[in-house]
Symmetry: C2
Subunit: 457 residues, 2 copies
Amino acid sequence: MQVWNDYLSQNKQRFLDELLDLLRIPSISADSQYKADVARCADAVKENLLKAGCDKAEICPTDGHPIVYAEKMVDPTAPTVLVYGHYDVQPADPLDLWHSGPFEPVIKDGKIYARGACDDKGQMFMHVKALDVMNATGTLACNVKFMIEGEEEVGSSNLGKFLAANKEKLSADIVLVSDTSMISMEHPSIETGLRGLAYMEVEVTGPNRDLHSGVYGGAVHNPINALCKMIASCHDENNHITIPGFYDKVQTLSEGERKALNDAPFDIEEYKKDLDVNDVWGEKGYTTLERTGIRPTLDVNGIWGGYTGEGAKTVLPSKAYAKISMRLVPHQNSDEIAAMFQKHFEAIAPGSVKVKVTAHHGGEPVVTPTDSIAYKAASEAIRTAFGKDPIPTRGGGSIPIIALFENILGLKTVLMGFGLDNDNIHSPNEKYDLANYYKGIETIPYFHKYFAEMCKI
Amino acid sequence: MQVWNDYLSQNKQRFLDELLDLLRIPSISADSQYKADVARCADAVKENLLKAGCDKAEICPTDGHPIVYAEKMVDPTAPTVLVYGHYDVQPADPLDLWHSGPFEPVIKDGKIYARGACDDKGQMFMHVKALDVMNATGTLACNVKFMIEGEEEVGSSNLGKFLAANKEKLSADIVLVSDTSMISMEHPSIETGLRGLAYMEVEVTGPNRDLHSGVYGGAVHNPINALCKMIASCHDENNHITIPGFYDKVQTLSEGERKALNDAPFDIEEYKKDLDVNDVWGEKGYTTLERTGIRPTLDVNGIWGGYTGEGAKTVLPSKAYAKISMRLVPHQNSDEIAAMFQKHFEAIAPGSVKVKVTAHHGGEPVVTPTDSIAYKAASEAIRTAFGKDPIPTRGGGSIPIIALFENILGLKTVLMGFGLDNDNIHSPNEKYDLANYYKGIETIPYFHKYFAEMCKI
């Protein structure tokens, strides 16, 4: 619509500056030393929501970081869109790999570089600015509610309680989330599934104290060697995961569904070049898109033990540790997989070491329907803004709370993400393309328009 | 001899206090921030040697930490004993596991607790005090030279050059070293062999940057998973090391030699209890004493990669690292084994990751003769002081410079150690029993006496 495009053009710089201000706040939820910054960021989000046209906005305290709630109610008979996003970010380390400060956003080659640029401040903020556009031009077709949390990167552990306690306030017709990727600007896509997560920590204890590796080496089980052997055994020669029962509930896709998935534009050579790897890797019998979209995984996210300083220390350590997570697909269950992992890891531990397994937060896999009004509205919005139909894809990441929306609020979700896989989310030099940011602000009002129209029919 | 015992009794407290003063100096050679402390410790050793009766003592600079040289020449026709020891110590970390400060020595239950209490300040200092005893009582039978270095814990990399440049100054009939263990006070023993060492560091690189484990997990090789698999594959199901050629030169002992080795008093239940392990571990077909004495090993001394902080981070890291060392036995060669390891590790790396292998310092395995005059003098000295013959054993540790003494100075070594395996050397709460300290001071003069007598025959 011309009126939206005009307003967006006139306010382009302001829409960027306001995002940059938000990116300057180091709202790292995982690290308690940033607690005040996280709170400051919540306030900033609230102020931005009021400024964009919300009738009301509030900071809702939780046992952890606060949730920002806001709403703009235009018509009780119009459908209501509940926008979910998060204002917290991942830790920025390793800091030395950043080309510029993670909380000193810079624009380079048409990209905003900063922690949270894409995940999720940049994507969440598109909805705030889209409201601004619709509000300023008097074109709001739906009521809008915002629920922007501050604990997504640490497992959203207080969100379930908040949902259960605020069912009425959060009543809506659809949840709209921009916290995922599309294939490219040339190949817009909508993720129709997300993987779940089971995240474990293991501690392997050998002798009761660090030993001299000369005096004891060869006769006392080294817990690092033991841990490596246990981790190695979790994949067989075909890179299948060996935990008994692990694949029992994995959804099997039809040949047609697999074909559709593999029809998505994907250049394996470009992919390898971007990552600077000579070969991809993964489960035998599946393509790269299948490996990240419809198959579960087991990755070591961190490992440590013994002497890790400069030079050499001849120690046979007492303990070794690893953080190991599994991405899950429908219909695997996070708690069940966590229990399976624990049982398996304890079972494969040799008698010469002791093993302790604990679970961090998990999340359930989700599949969003493609035959719903909301999906059709999103699809149509993208077709209008991008000039082509979006491709349905399966995302490899996890947004554990999507399952909560369905279970507690009874609401389906549309994952209308505008990120790119190479945005370096969770990594140094996270970025978000300006083009994607503005295209998102352009697309979202169409979703509201089409969703309102389709609901009426 | 009564005169020695009397002098020792009268000076018992002073002999202890002077050692405690030395233990208070944090002479950590591996950490450059302690450089001044290492230098201060060298000075203290020099002063102690002069005080104990040396005619001359000097600080000999090297490219690293200095070597303390001192001598007491009594008779040009008498044999000369070259005492080797080291005044540097291992790093003290992990600090939180120490019950008292590593450089604030305390006496508890008849044991001195401090970093270096046994390895090697306590053991080296016995020779200083034994000189004091012999000098004060006018009973020196041998000339004595001291070469006390400050880089043993970091590979003695400047000692070879020092030996080569000072052959005349260091001329002697035997090298006497107390830097090893005996079985127990009830079962005195002399180590007749030491293992060598090859110490490697490996870096495994997967993608060129840290990735989101959801977006990429399952399709891009995780370098930690890859490293674990590579490390795991280095031992087969019998815990044999799988590096091609690794065992080719390993000395095979006769059944008789193996029986003698296993005749040493050893209580496997006591050993397991002391370490709090349910099972020992090691190469199939060998006993614990053989596994540490005559068989080579491969131990991971340190491993790190990915996220190792609190909580969870869903990262698929770019890099993973490990420090891996191998203890070697006669007639394995450190450089050859290092090259074999490198070749093997590069060969087993899957095409989906890149591997970099570098070598830290190594050392050669040694066997000391048991039919020499020096060994017989040591054996007789122990029989006199302890009331029973020492048992010849094989030590698992490495003192790489023993091979240098033979190759550069043409000198054999006697390893007359008074430590115990449970002294926690290289570990928190390192200790040295007062009884062992004093028994060492009592025994050493007998070595000088018998060695001089036997050389005359």
